[in-house]
């Protein structure tokens, strides 16, 4: 594996191995000295062409806990604003000895294109509406920890599926690992072709969709969906698709709650649910660090790969 671009193209075994590695490396967060020498002397760049706090911080810390040097490049104030193409930006970094690039871009496919141009590993930190593979991995890790397995689970994803790269990465990983997926959301924000996928059920009815599910991934509703005319109002959205104490009763009694963040409390999810014992949202953030360490370790040739 040279790059991590998608989960769609990973096998169940690839994913399981990354999750096992994540479990091992995740323990470092509990240590008094959070430093492994594994990537000492390696340099990693965070190339974020779209604003992000959580994911960028998570990658930065993951690299630092493994002793890599990290720089952050953001478009504002950089040569990108002066008209340089992102391919040139990346090439300059390669010339300066960067060993891996973590890239987020609002256009789908940019990490794939970059991976064809440069020889260093490229890690997709989210591309347009396409994929967010480390989010998918951290969701799988969280599910596995909560339920002890993924095979045979029934997992609901609720919200704006159409525009969600998180949903896509989750769908591919869940199917690969033997889970059934239920997609629930507004008809105007549902990619209709997903009805054709095996092990995927599509519904606009929250009550029907949540029946018998083991876990619920609640997606962030972006406010521009209302101004763009895709939904009438956030309030009405909440009335139909909001995950509340009321709607949660339709799921299995031990169903867990996940959310990729950042949350709109009171819109797609209520605070009492988010802060309850059924919420694994905090663990997702922690697992994010673990899977990013695992991915960096795997791609940058930690000791095992030398």
């Amino acid at each position: 594996m040279k790059d991590l671009l998608t989960l769609e193209h990973l096998s169940a075994q690839d994913i399981e191995e990354l999750l096992d590695l994540s479990e091992n490396l995740g323990e470092i967060v509990d240590r008094p000295i959070k430093k492994l020498p594994t990537l000492r002397g390696k340099a990693v760049v965070n190339l974020f062409f779209e604003p992000s706090t959580r994911t960028r911080n998570s990658f930065e810390l993951a690299a630092k806990y493994l002793s890599a040097d990290v720089i952050n490049v953001q478009p504002s104030g950089s040569s990108v604003e002066k008209g340089e193409t992102l391919w040139d930006t990346a090439d300059n970094l390669v010339q300066m000895g960067i060993d891996a690039a973590i890239i987020r871009h609002k256009v789908s496919g940019v990490p794939q294109q970059l991976a064809q141009m440069v020889s260093i590993p490229i890690i997709n930190a989210g591309d347009g509406m396409h994929e967010h593979p480390t989010q998918g991995l951290l969701d799988m890790l969280t599910l596995r920890q909560a339920k002890g397995r993924i095979d045979g689970l029934r997992v609901a994803i609720v919200g704006d599926i159409l525009h969600s790269r998180v949903a896509r990465s989750d769908i591919w990983a869940l199917r690969a690992l033997g889970a059934d997926v239920v997609l629930i959301g507004p008809p105007s924000l549902m990619p209709d072709s997903f009805r054709q996928l095996s092990h995927v059920t599509v519904t606009t009815d929250l009550k029907e969709g949540l029946q018998g599910v083991d876990a619920i991934q609640v997606l962030r509703l972006q406010k521009e969906r209302q101004t763009g005319g895709d939904i009438p109002s956030l309030w009405e959205y909440r009335a139909r698709w909001g995950v509340t104490a009321h709607s949660l009763q339709w799921a299995k009694p031990d169903a867990i709650i996940m959310h990729p963040g950042p949350q709109n409390r009171g819109v797609e999810i209520d605070s009492d649910i988010l802060d309850s014992s059924r919420s694994w949202v905090g663990r997702q953030v922690r697992n994010g660090l673990a899977v990013r360490m695992a991915v960096l370790f795997r791609l940058l040739g930690g000791a095992h790969n030398e």
Binding site: E8, T85, L86, W87, H105, K106, V107, S108, G109, V110, Q112, Q113, Q116, D127, G128, M129, H130, E131, L162, R165, R168, P191, D192, S193, F194, Q196
Partner: protein, 432 residues
């Protein structure tokens, strides 16, 4: 053998002349740039045994980008691409910079083409000033200056009131409105066909209905105005239904299909892994729609084949998919593509196929087409029907190397092109 001169005796070619319905091996004589009946033995002889001879191949939809966007293409490079592709007439779209929306620009393009002497250019004028869709351009005066039709190609004429006015003018000028059919709101944010592949790749989708809704509207406006409508680059099944409806009603509605929509499906977007060479408007459609389009050409519902030759600079096409411009450089693969699709699969006879590149575009544009009739200008193309070749964009005469056909194997290729008795291309080499 010399390539200069305007008098020739072309021997042994299989002549395919859609005007008179001829498909036979004949000797063809050209004297002083026109076809003649006699058999003057003193003329220089061209041995064309094994080749096909088709008079006046016409591509009624090209973008030559001149004036203003010469870094993409100019009238000289576009003309060379036309000659290399086997074309003797091209109709240039007016979305240049400035837009061809005044008579002097139409005249300038025609004069420049005559100076170059490689291909006949029939300029298309804009429907609205600046292609802004707000005010009609000077259609009458552009027609007087030689505009062959009117289009805001690149954009639709979205305002129904303006389109109504334009169609009402078209009837009085006996020139078609060539519509790029697209509902701007449904189209917004899209960069490929909306379907399973866009939804998997996470690229903004353009539903087929963005096109067909506009075609249905325009058909209604033709009923209202008795205007003349030609629907450019049809790709959607709903558009085919609208054209069928219009033709059954006897309305002056015609339609064209582009070679890339006939040769490729939206699978190409996945195969090219987000390279913007597959980005074109209308977008490549799923295989079932591609097949429906092929059937519509075969049945005659689609009147014309036209390349929508849309060259771009490599830097622009290297942009991320959402940002890169739409368009495929198609003049030099057009003939091979449609021969491969329709002759390779035995869907059309050569006579029926070439009618869609000769007599039919003339009919749509209300121009006379004389084939090889004595006295007609000697515009012809010699085609090697058995030539199997691989598309290499680096070998294009066009400045635009942007094509998802790169590496494709095609059967059939122009080997010589003649305009007014002068060779403009021989053996893939453009003369001038």
């Amino acid at each position: 053998m010399s390539n200069t001169g305007t008098s020739w005796r072309i021997q042994g070619a299989r002549v395919i002349d859609p005007f008179r319905g001829i498909d036979a091996v004949l000797d063809v004589t050209v004297r002083d740039g026109v076809f003649v009946e006699d058999h003057d033995p003193s003329l220089p002889v061209v041995d064309a045994k094994g080749l096909w001879l088709v008079p006046r191949l016409t591509d009624m939809h090209v973008h030559f980008r001149d004036p203003g966007l010469e870094y993409k293409e100019d009238l000289a490079s576009g003309s060379r691409a036309a000659a290399a592709g086997g074309f003797t007439v091209v109709c240039t779209m007016p979305n240049t910079k400035p837009v061809v929306d005044i008579p002097s620009l139409v005249e300038w393009q025609k004069e420049r083409a005559e100076t170059l002497g490689l291909v006949r250019i029939w300029p298309i004028g804009a429907v609205t000033k600046g292609e802004e869709g707000k005010e009609l351009a000077e259609m009458y005066q552009m027609a007087q200056a030689g505009a062959i039709g009117f289009s805001d190609d690149g954009h639709p004429v979205a305002d129904s009131r303006i389109m109504r006015a334009a169609l009402s003018y078209s009837a009085t000028l006996n020139r078609p409105i060539i519509q790029h059919s697209e509902d701007p709101d449904l189209f917004a944010g899209g960069s490929m066909h909306e379907g399973a592949i866009s939804q998997q790749l996470g690229l903004g989708g353009i539903p087929a209905e963005a096109e067909s809704i506009m075609v249905w509207r325009d058909v209604e406006l033709v009923q209202l105005t008795r205007g003349i409508l030609h629907v450019a680059h049809v790709s959607a099944p709903g558009s085919l239904e609208a054209v069928r409806y219009a033709k059954n009603k006897g309305l002056a509605v015609t339609a064209e299909a582009a070679p890339h929509h006939l040769f490729l499906s939206d699978d190409a977007v996945r195969e090219w892994q987000y390279s913007a060479v597959t980005k074109v408007n209308p977008p490549l459609r799923p295989a079932a729609m591609q097949e429906a389009l092929i059937q519509a050409v075969t049945s005659g519902l689609i009147d014309v084949l036209a390349s929508d030759h849309a060259p771009h600079h490599a830097d622009e096409k290297a942009e991320p998919y959402d940002k890169a411009p739409f368009g495929i450089s198609g003049l030099e693969t057009f003939l091979g593509t449609v021969m491969t699709v329709f002759l390779g699969r035995g869907l059309l006879s050569p006579l029926d196929l070439f009618a869609k590149l000769t007599a039919m575009p003339h009919q749509v544009l209300r121009q006379s087409y004389a084939g090889i009739s004595p006295g007609a200008a000697a515009d012809l193309t010699l085609i090697d029907p058995g030539a199997v070749w691989t598309v290499d964009p680096a070998a294009f005469y066009s400045k635009g190397h942007n094509t998802p056909l790169a590496g494709a194997t095609l059967t059939g290729r122009a080997v010589a092109t003649m305009v007014g008795g002068r060779w403009t291309m021989r053996e893939q080499e453009v003369l001038g």
